[in-house]
Amino acid sequence: MFDLTGRKALVTGATGGIGGAIARALHAKGATVAISGTRRSALDELASSLGDRVHVVEANLSDKDSVEALVPAAESAMEGLDILVNNAGITKDNLFMRMKDEEWDSVIAVNLTASFRLSRAAVKTMMRRRYGRIVNIGSVVGSTGNPGQGNYAASKAGLIGMTKALAAEVASRNITVNCVAPGFIQSPMTDALNDKQKDAILGTIPMARLGQGDEIASAVVYLSSGEAGYVTGHTLHINGGMAMF
């Protein structure tokens, strides 16, 4: 089940904890992966640990031209594109009343607009092949909101709406578009929290632990697989029960 042999996947933000786990999981299932990110050394490290069937494609997702060049670069490196994982995301937290336009704009640009442009380009080639899987990585805060994250929550909620609209448009071409919405996942960011902050977070999670990147990656593998062919427009929440929809 969930065999991805011969499939070609582009994963953005592959240098992050979740993105790296996604790239590893898709690769382990047999896919060829193109990994993109901003830190070249981390990309090279991930590529060498994976071995064959890996291509490094650098991109700066806050730059329009760089975004436009990414799908063609991945497509030509892998000779095709079947799976797009829009994982890259940034945060610029601030209280709403203090939030600067620049903080709003940059988060929307990377998290939402880049995903739009990459999906637009990917769908073109997927339509020709009559096959495609797009997985957008959202967040629980796209559905619940979170103080201090007006920009981030808006971008992730935007992804959910975009997922549904695109899913409806391209379903007849055997292309599925879904969203995976993680809760709190263990990462360098959550490692940096102090015990008091950690306890406060864990108190809101029935599972009483942080999630692991692998637990997000396995959902992406499923939604990228042939077996998930009838699942589209869905948002799969993976958050240890902290919010149930």
């Binding site: 073109k124 339509m127 020709r128 448009e169 391209v170 007849s172 071409r173």
Partner: protein
Amino acid sequence: MSDIADRVKKIVVEHLGVDAEKVTDNANFIDDLGADSLDTVELVMAFEEEFNVEIPDDAAETIVTVGDAIKFLEKNAA
């Protein structure tokens, strides 16, 4: 019939899965040949590929019949 017209009609037949005799110059992609809006986008992409030409959105909007496509490509294809 021109070579371009032949190639256009072949693409339309293949993409929309319609009988060749239905693909006349006057045939409207949506009303006569059963295309949906996504089909029309795909046809434009297929024409672009076949004739190695870029069809801008405002031009694509004016291509509603098979004859429109042939005329546009006869004028613009290299």
